[in-house]
Amino acid sequence: MADGMGIHYRNKMADIKRLTKDGIEFADGQSIEAELKLVLPDWIAHDCLRDLPIADSAGFIKTDLLMRALGHPEIFVLGDCAAVTVPKIGGIGHQEAEIVGRQVALDMGRMDADEANEPLQPVVFCIGDMGEGKAYYVRSNAWFGGKDEVLKMGRIPYQLKMSYRNLFFMTHSKVRGFGLSLAQFAALKVF
């Protein structure tokens, strides 16, 4: 996509060393000249978690695939603070939250083990604005060893993006699970 639009592309870049008025300097001596420097940062663990015995080498919390902290099954961990959450995207946090809900129900005697013990199978789920009334829809688990790889681009994904935005504000950011299922149905079955 970048090639077709004439966008320049640099991969395997080192750590960012510094931003200056004229661009970005990288730790290996490379640089990129730029007026606007649009950057996403490193995601690091919170200081209060970093030295816990349940933290990994970077301070993220180690869990099993049922989102229980290793050695401490009474601690559930979900979202970006969990070591297993890679990449750090909301869709995987949502999947983990549903697992935690089922595990709590299991411990409270409200759900049987067969139903509750469904481990995390992460799926990268992303709908991104492309401008000009178009968007892309990505749903894939291939990076983790699964077989699903779906990519759709065009005006229907843009409508899904806008619907998600409306749902986000309407629910005060507490988007209900049916929104993801509805987007998946629309992206896979409607077009």
Partner: protein, 155 residues
């Protein structure tokens, strides 16, 4: 939260509704940790003076100023991710048969991809400029590697 005692099953925290609030302590039978992560803009030298991003309203508004209120000269521009330093905590997990939780070099590149396509559209439609003024960069072999190889080739 300030201190978590995983063996004593206690959490010490300070309410943040008003500055100066006292330390509180709770004990628990179960604990759910859903604290997110620290987006380390504060570890990028020069970001405050020279960087932009879109991960919150403050920075989004700050980006709007040169683009919509004047001052933007038309580039060149660059968009990309700082390197993510993943720990070893997901090693050995197998979410799918034969699969793993891979080591990522970028925490999340969906925003980079989205900003790139939107900025390309903006340059073309609004700024009388060209997407060729953009350089996108990634620490990975390819941008949004987690979307799957076939999706990357198809896009």
């Amino acid at each position: 939260m300030l201190v978590l005692g995983v063996d004593a099953k206690t959490v010490a925290f300070r309410p943040t509704e008003r500055p100066g609030e006292e330390l509180q302590k709770l004990s628990y039978d179960y604990l759910v940790l859903a604290m997110g992560a620290h987006l380390a803009y504060d570890r990028i030298e020069g970001f405050a003076a020279h960087g932009h991003t879109v991960s919150d309203l403050f920075h989004g508004q700050r980006l709007r100023e040169p683009l919509f209120e004047g001052g933007y000269k038309g580039g060149p521009d660059t968009i990309g991710s700082a390197r993510f330093h993943q720990g070893d905590g997901a090693e050995g997990l197998q979410p799918y048969p034969g699969g793993s939780i891979p080591y990522a070099k970028a925490a999340c590149e969906g925003p980079v991809r989205e900003m790139t396509t939107v900025m390309a559209s903006y340059l073309k439609m609004e700024a009388n400029s060209s997407p060729s003024r953009i350089t996108v960069f990634t620490p990975e072999e390819s941008i949004a590697a987690d979307a799957g190889e076939n999706n990357i080739k198809a896009s």
